[in-house]
């Protein structure tokens, strides 16, 4: 598969000594959505900013469409577009102004820029509000405008740096649809996020980054199965004998809620049988990306502190 981005032993050490990237090798295939997943401060944005030619690396190599990010930045810049992390549109302009500007700086004529802007506004369900000042629009619509501003460029590679941060669930899902549509249009997308559900829903290829290093990579299901986590079985039971019945398993409990980890199908079957026979409530939870993520990056406390 052709690669849009390829990095080798990429290192970034900031002036204050912080090592944001530590020998990172990442390949981004063309025409796919690649997600960088990691906790805050993991190095996702640093990586994105280096390959988007906004930041110089300390060492290592990075190529975008075969062009060197250090020596051939101008070649790269005409082929990429960015939605910056926590970027905001001007509030006193309209969505049409924003997208028109985005098209004009890419060299489209006035008529073509306007036509493209209106076309993208239609696709993003913003056509009805195209002439309203952005200050009157919702957070989701504002984020879509930033997405539209990159889309109107017709760039082949789009960098979306935490594009759904701070959005409500409905707006997030709407934006996901837009991002999936971009893939159908043949765009290559690099998306950074720390939302598990977003990575699960969108990523063709996933890199989990922690403390500047890639700790896992591959398809979502590949990563989940490769980590070797056990299936979690939750049993809610108020019978006094339940602890004795579970004594053959490794379990923990809070009140009447028991969490049992099982490794093979026989154990799982036995637990289901036990629950059915005794009238316990049972929930089976396969390992999720979130479980994998927490295992790889060191637990909730570290991630969300």
């Amino acid at each position: 598969m052709k690669l849009a981005v390829e990095t080798k032993r990429l290192v970034k050490v900031y002036r204050n000594g912080v090592r944001a990237l530590d020998s990172v090798d990442i390949d981004i295939p063309m025409g796919r959505i690649t997600c960088l997943l990691g906790p805050n401060g993991a190095g996702k944005t640093t990586f994105l900013r280096i390959i988007a030619t906004q930041l110089l690396p300390t060492s290592g190599e990075a190529f975008v469409f075969g062009y060197d990010v250090i020596k051939e930045a101008d070649e790269i810049r005409s082929r990429i577009a960015v939605v910056p992390q926590e970027g905001r549109p001007y509030l006193m302009v309209t969505p049409l102004d924003e997208l028109y500007m985005g098209a004009r700086i890419r060299g489209f004529s006035r008529d073509e820029a306007r036509r493209r802007a209106l076309d993208i506004l239609r696709r993003l369900d913003l056509y009805e509000v195209r002439n309203q000042k952005i200050i009157r629009l919702s957070g989701g619509q504002r984020q879509k405008i930033l997405l539209g501003r990159t889309l109107v460029s017709d760039a082949d590679l789009l960098f979306l740096d935490e594009p759904t941060i701070g959005l409500d669930p409905v707006s997030r899902r709407s934006l996901w649809e837009d991002i999936l549509n971009l893939k159908k249009m043949g765009k290559t997308i690099l998306l950074t996020t720390h939302y598990m559900d977003e990575a699960e829903a969108l990523a063709d290829k996933l890199y989990i980054i922690n403390k500047g290093r890639v700790v896992a990579s591959g398809g979502v299901s590949d990563i989940i199965s490769s980590v070797g986590l056990k299936t979690a079985v939750y049993i809610i039971a108020d019978s006094p004998g339940v602890e004795e019945e579970l004594s053959g398993y490794r379990f923990e409990h809070i009140g009447n809620k028991y969490l049992v980890y099982v490794e093979d199908r026989k154990d799982l079957f036995d637990l289901v049988k036990l629950a059915v026979e005794n009238g316990y409530i049972i929930t089976i939870k396969q390992p999720s990306l979130e479980d994998v993520f927490i295992k790889l990056v060191g637990g909730y406390e570290e991630v969300y502190s």
């Binding site: 988007a52 930041l55 509030l91 006193m92 102004d97 700086i105 060299g107």
Partner: protein
């Protein structure tokens, strides 16, 4: 070349839109430099207006250079527009020219009012007005690198706004901009020469014949403006942030 001009104009227009779409801000920007001239007219009569006009125009145009700092830091840290432009075909100089031009456009109404006063009061001929225009444009060019330097060295837009406002007070009221150099006792004049706007305002008055004090003379004032411009340009270039290190 043509693409560069289109990009510069597009960035200028886009940066200017929020100002004209917000009339109260626009009116404040236009009216602010006129207020001192108004009071000078009330208390000092026509001579006050003559001197105040120079202050008004020099302040408006020169400060379009310093106030660029506010746009620059806002676009870099709040809207992240700079990141958007860096990762696009827009060149650093196109971006800088674009937002500088929009800053200059903002001052245009105040400048036009000043020019009308100059012509109405018969202060200068068209030719002198052209020289005067070149001098105040040199003032804007001189202070632009300072604006970009401030905008690139601070990450807090609030601090940048505060600093540019303090500079505005120092450069327009401590420096003899609204009033001629004659008003400052001779032994203190040397200190005002450290403020760049002194040279712009005094040179303007010399060209328009609004002062009897020679100061350092036209050649020296011009040289100082050029030297300060080059110095600030080099410093601004060294510390500006487009692609970050």
């Amino acid at each position: 070349m043509r693409r560069s001009i289109v990009r510069i104009w597009t960035i200028c227009w886009y940066n200017f839109l929020p100002i004209i779409r917000n009339p109260l801000t626009f009116i404040t920007i236009v009216v602010w430099p006129i207020i001192p001239m108004f009071f000078m007219g009330v208390f000092l009569g026509e001579e006050g207006v003559r001197q105040g006009i120079i202050g008004m125009i020099v302040t408006s145009v020169s400060f379009s250079g310093i106030y660029v700092a506010q746009d620059y830091v806002f676009n870099r840290t709040i809207t992240k527009l700079q990141d958007f432009f860096v990762a696009s075909p827009v060149k650093e100089y196109e971006y800088i020219f674009g937002i500088s031009l929009s800053s200059l456009l903002t001052t245009l109404i105040a400048v036009l009012i000043g020019y009308l006063f100059i012509l109405y009061l018969g202060i200068a001929s068209i030719l002198k007005l052209i020289y005067f225009t070149l001098v105040i444009l040199a003032g804007a060019l001189m202070l632009l690198p300072l604006g970009f330097l401030i905008g690139s060295r601070f990450d807090d837009a609030g601090r940048v706004n505060g600093l540019t406002n303090v500079l505005a007070i120092v450069f327009s009221f401590i420096a003899p901009v609204y009033y001629p150099l004659d008003y400052i006792p001779e032994k203190f004049r040397i200190y005002t020469y450290f403020l760049p706007t002194t040279h712009i305002a005094h040179l303007s008055r010399l060209i328009l014949g609004l002062t009897d004090v020679k100061g350092l003379g036209i050649t020296y004032h011009l040289t100082i403006i050029v030297v300060i411009s080059i110095f600030l340009y080099l410093i601004g270039r060294k510390y500006s942030r487009w692609r970050e290190v």
